[in-house]
C-alpha cells in the first residue's frame, strides 16, 4: 500500500498552502485538482521530483475515491 501524506496550512488571511507527499506520478495532480475544487483558485503550483516517478497504481482509483470527474 502507498502512503499519501497531505500537509495543509491555512494562513491567517485564509490562503492555503498544500504539500502533497507520497503520491507519485499523476496521482499528485489528482489531489491538486480535488483540493483546488474544494478551496478556490490555484495561485501557484510546483511539481516535485516525486511527480516524475512512475505510478504504482493507476490514478483512476484515486479519482473515483475522491469523487473527481476526469
Amino acid at each position: 500500500m502507498a502512503q499519501h501524506d497531505v500537509e495543509i496550512t491555512i494562513s491567517k488571511t485564509g490562503e492555503v498552502k498544500v504539500h502533497i507527499k507520497g503520491a507519485k506520478g499523476k496521482a499528485c495532480l489528482v489531489y491538486s485538482k480535488w483540493l483546488s475544487g474544494l478551496v478556490g483558485k490555484v495561485k501557484d503550483q510546483q511539481l516535485t521530483s516525486e511527480h516524475y516517478e512512475p505510478e504504482i497504481k493507476a490514478r483512476i482509483d484515486l479519482e473515483q475515491n475522491l469523487g473527481i470527474d476526469e
Binding site: 499519501h4 501524506d5 495543509i8 494562513s11 489531489y31 516535485t48
Partner: protein
Amino acid sequence: MGAVLVLTPVIIASWPAITAAVAGAASAMGLMVSQSVKESVKQSQSTTEQSVEVELSESEVLAESMATDQQIVLTKGTIQLCVKRDERGRCSVCAKGIGHSEAELKQTAEEFTQKLTQCFVYNRVMGELKNKDFQVVNEEVMEDESIRIHVRRWMD
C-alpha cells in the same frame, strides 16, 4: 515531495455554512453574537458614529438559502460588526461604533473577514477530509495564527 500548491480561497456557500464560519471567527476574536436578524440593528444612531464596510471579494452567498435581510450582528465593546449578504450576493462585513476612527473600524472589519475566511476554509477542508476517510495525523495553530493540518491515507 509530489506537489506544492498555493490556493486562494473562494467562498461560495449557503448561509448556514457562512454562519458556522462567522461563529468560529467570532469566538476566536472574542466577539459576542448579539442578534441574527435585521431588526436588531434598528438602534439609535448617533451622528458621531462611524461606519465602514468591507466586502469579501471572492465570495458568494447562495441566495436560495437565505431569507431577505438576514444578517448576523456581533459586538466587541462598543464596536458592532454586521455580517450580511450584499445586493451583489457577496458576503460583506460592516463595522460601526461611536468613538472609533474610520481606520480603527476598517482594521477590525478586515481582521474579522480574514478570520472568517480562515474558519470557512478550515470547516470546508476538515469536513471533506473526514468524508474521504483521511486520518488526521496532526493539527496545530502556529505562532503566526496559521492552522496546520497533516492528514494521511493509504492507497492500494
